[in-house]
Amino acid sequence: MEFVQNFPFFSILLSLFSGPLCSVIGGKAARRINLAVITAIGAMSAAVLHFTIRTGEAYVYLMGHFPAPWGNEIRAGVLEALMALFFCVVMFLCMVGGSLERSLEIEESKENLYYVMVNLLLSSLLALIYTNDLFTAYVFVEINTISACGLIMIRQNGRTIEAATRYMIMSLLGSGLLLLGICFLYDMTGHLLMSNIKEQVQILHGTGDYHIPLLVTVSLMSVGIAIKSALYPFHAWLPDAYGYSTLSSAAILSSLVSKGYIFLLVKIFYRVIGFDIVRDSKIVNILFAFGVVGMIMGSVSAIKEGNIRRMIAYSSVAQIGYIYMGFGIGTTAGVIASLYHILSHAATKSLLFVSASGITDASGDSTSFFDLTGAGYRNKLAGVAFTVGSLSMVGFPMFSGFISKLLFAQAAVDSAYYKMLPALIALAVSTILNAVYFMKTVIRIYTPADREEVSRRGFKNVTVAEQKAKSAALVCFIVLNMALGLCSEPIVRLLSEGLNMFA
């Protein structure tokens, strides 16, 4: 065994223990530790990625060297390492980009607690990515929920507490269903390790026993995770949670937290149940329907929204719909499209949140749509970044969103008629709707403002030098987005290779 193979385990432990460490040190030091931890984990994930690409297969890491049916396992392959690396990059940029807001919006005495939450969140995300044990996954799902709740309500006002409460309630409903599903599976198969469960499930499927309980179990778990990842219509908590929490929280929540759950769902589909069984169970059709409805309804809500942060949040609802639609198509191509969209959406949505905050900085911190008039001139970089993010969301070539749309459409045209048409129509409609509200905003921020109004309201110009951290994060996000949009071929290849060795 090579030393690199320990890295997934190290990275989970590192972030898990740096969390409590942050609670006893000051805010500044905690911040540095947090960034260092994220960087270190990113580097380790890159090493794991390199290792798995080189060996060309996934490996199993025994925790405490207990062999298969008893011990707890970590399993790392290309897909896991890629996700971990990507999550680290996005989280790092989100933390850098939101540092100014954090220093303004979080009480100084509580700042270190924020980093506790971020570190725990990272560790739970990593655990969700790497674990091969279903019950461990459940435990980390709860840790994820709790730390996300902390991220929402670190900035204390009525809205965030209410949003956090709603978020908790929905999440608990979801995790209740997930837990029940896990217990059913344990009951039927007698295992908790994913690979072992799959063996048994395949046998059960072959003999035809427990057909209905299996169906119920798959639906329970899918619905549970769908609730947790804010699939329409379970999204009521989302706009408030993203719209009013502090910037880095909103960016991390929208781009990473829901994606962690979705990744778990992919894992359940591929590694626990087996995708062919899931497809035969027709549960994907239900996800497909909800995904399609979400794509449209999320965009419609976003069009009606007058607050830019909430608008971006509603757009997340639509994008989650895309991802579920991809699963719902029920082909490997669809799942790859969804996985790519996870990356693309993570890169784009956090870019949008950070640039939107840059724009509101130049508009007297008002998030109302009307006050943003001309903000693109007052904060040039943020204006450009927001335009890039919008174009990516709309699916302009060169940016990542275009490739995901292309992949979705490819997957759709290769599928059955009754799915191809709704999928393509939904893609078309949702693209147009996206264009409506994102272009509306771009038009708004580039409409020259009345000079008197600007000086009366005291809107200031924001230069790059004033907001070094945020500007650097924005530039990195733009580069990331274009990299995803232009060099998609190797990434898609990695995703499909990873998916092959995933099961």
């Binding site: 956090a164 209740g176 269903l177 217990c183």
Partner: protein, 125 residues
């Protein structure tokens, strides 16, 4: 599929009914405290179910006290372990929910979540 099956497995049936009660309370109650109670009922129902799965009639809890090493003397220990883990999780989640409820109550002097939402809209935050 008949009632006899249901009667034979009445423990599981009870667990599921409890789960349903807890779930619908968590989903539908307006009062936050009732929601939390619902949450706990739901979680407990799952633990009941798990414990049932690990139970083997006539055997003892898997704690070695009188030197009996044989596997045949004890029930399946893994579900018990899972239940313990689950309880830890649900305690922490309940604590967090209660803390949130206190925060909201201090601010709005009500436990009704919809009421709070309408007030928030009035505040125009």
């Amino acid at each position: 599929m008949n009632l006899a099956n249901l009667a034979n497995n009445y423990e599981e049936a009870i667990a599921m009914i409890l789960f349903g009660i807890g779930f619908s309370n968590l989903l539908l109650q307006k009062n936050l405290i009732r929601k939390i109670i619902g949450l706990n009922i739901m979680d407990t129902a799952v633990y009941l179910f798990l414990a049932l799965k690990g139970y083997i009639a006539g055997r003892k809890a898997p704690i070695v006290v009188d030197g009996v090493q044989s596997v045949k003397a004890y029930i399946n220990p893994i579900p018990s372990g899972l239940v313990l883990t689950g309880i830890v999780v649900s305690v922490s989640v309940s604590a967090l929910m209660l803390a949130l409820t206190i925060r909201l109550y201090r601010r709005y002097h009500t436990l009704d979540l919809d009421e709070i939402t309408t007030r928030l809209k009035k505040e125009g935050l």
